[in-house]
């Protein structure tokens, strides 16, 4: 049981990385704060059910991601359009030197990725988790995580620099 974990210590340890993940997903400070706070609120209510204390960080990220998806589902849905089909209609992210890039431009580019790629890419760069943990957080198989990451990273590089990360042709659609 993770009952013995001190709430304040837990918040101190994880609130920053959780907020980074939340902000990567929402690009909105208030929403990211709400998501982070809600995650700890859920922990306070249900965290005692977690038996393995080593899984606390993964549990928190999983919870945050679920809350994010839950909130998204409540929003008005827009028609889903494949990035390939809509690329010409997207606001142009100018191909710039990565050194000149600021966070808002980076997250704007991330937001142009299909939703299924955003969370794995953010978790990849935040570098807090192994691929196995990312798979647990996103609740998909590790193979799916890797395929989504490969495609997502390639797209992100393409959007930011005008060229793909590998220089290889576009990857097939995620399984």
């Amino acid at each position: 049981m993770a009952k013995g974990l001190d709430f304040e210590s837990l918040v101190s340890c994880h609130y920053q990385s959780l907020y980074q993940f939340a902000f990567s997903l929402t690009r909105d400070e208030a929403d990211a704060c709400d998501l982070t706070q809600q995650t700890f609120c859920i922990w306070a209510a249900k965290g005692h059910q977690l038996r393995d204390e080593s899984k606390v960080k993964t549990w928190l990220f999983t919870t945050l991601h679920r809350e994010f998806l839950g909130a998204r589902r409540k929003q008005v849905r827009f028609p889903h359009v494949e990035l390939d089909q809509a690329a010409a209609e997207l606001p142009v992210v100018p191909a710039i030197s990565l050194n000149q890039l600021d966070v808002s431009q980076l997250l704007a580019a991330l937001a142009h990725l299909d939703e299924i790629y955003r969370a794995p890419v953010a978790l990849f760069y935040l570098q807090d988790h192994s691929y196995l943990e990312i798979a647990e957080i996103l609740e998909v198989p590790i193979g799916t995580v890797k395929s989504r990451l490969a495609r997502g990273l390639d797209r992100l590089h393409d959007l930011l620099t005008g060229k793909s990360a590998t220089g290889t042709p576009s990857r097939p659609t995620d399984s």
Binding site: Q20, C33, Q37, L106, S130, A150, L156, T166
Partner: protein, 252 residues
């Protein structure tokens, strides 16, 4: 593994993490050592990834978020504690109410056994249309019948009452115990269908709360009858008839 395979694997490679122990990564990295072009690609990719990683890391939580989370949780816990206290208070109040009701009911049940209720019940029995178990003007037969049926039979009548003609008797009950009802006719004209105009009820004294102790009969108007109640020996007597105190005093 060729160069493209290696690129696909190394695209997901994060130096200085557990990724380095992945056998596929290890194999791709060994290929990098032999392929200068691949090595250049990896350096460029690494530099780009590092920049992007740094950008993600630049995201900073707003000042005070941590304190806000902690303080709001503390406030929430206080509310939860208050809710629990309120819930417990409500439960305690409900228990008190139930206990009060139970005590009240218990006392009421006890109060069912009072003299006033007994008098009311017996007078009501006399005024209702009733059927005598035994119709006779023979007092001995009445006493015998009551005795055989385990109702109080060893009663003692006041001398004036001894002279009043009996019409019969019935056995009624009070709190599960038998009550002897002896019916008399004083001689006054009776309404059609009526056989009696004076009734005596006898019960063991211990069965009625607040029964008077030995002493002169207590007179009281109960319903439409004037009644006299007294104790003699271990029996409680209740005599009732229509009229006033003078009417009943003549029979005692």
């Amino acid at each position: 593994m060729n160069r493209d395979d290696a690129k696909n694997i190394l695209l997901l490679y994060r130096p200085d993490t557990v990724d380095v122990v992945d056998p596929q990564v290890t194999e791709a990295l060994s290929l990098v050592k032999q392929d200068a072009e691949l090595a250049a690609w990896l350096r460029e990719l690494g530099a780009r990834q590092e920049i992007l990683r740094a950008k993600f890391r630049q995201i900073q939580a707003p000042a005070g978020l941590k304190e806000q989370i902690i303080s709001e949780q503390a406030a929430r816990e206080k509310i939860i504690v208050w809710r629990r206290v309120a819930a417990l208070t409500a439960v305690a109040a409900a228990v008190v109410v139930l206990l009060t009701l139970a005590v009240f009911r218990f006392q009421s049940a006890g109060n069912d056994n009072t003299l006033a209720l007994y008098q009311n019940r017996m007078v009501g029995a006399a005024l209702r249309v009733y059927t005598m178990d035994l119709a006779t003007d023979n007092p001995v037969q009445i006493r015998e019948y009551l005795k055989q049926n385990h109702a109080p039979a060893d009663y003692v009548l006041p001398a004036p009452l001894e002279k009043v003609a009996t019409t019969g008797c019935a056995i009624t009950s009070w709190q599960g115990a038998k009550v002897s009802m002896i019916c008399f006719r004083t001689g006054k004209p009776l309404p059609p269908g009526e056989q009696s105009d004076l009734w005596l009820f006898v019960i063991d004294r211990d069965l009625v709360k607040n029964a008077p102790s030995a002493g002169p009969p207590q007179l009281a108007k109960v319903n439409q009858l004037i009644t006299a109640t007294w104790t003699q020996g271990d029996k409680l007597y209740l005599l009732g008839t229509e009229g006033d105190e003078q009417t009943i005093r003549k029979l005692l």
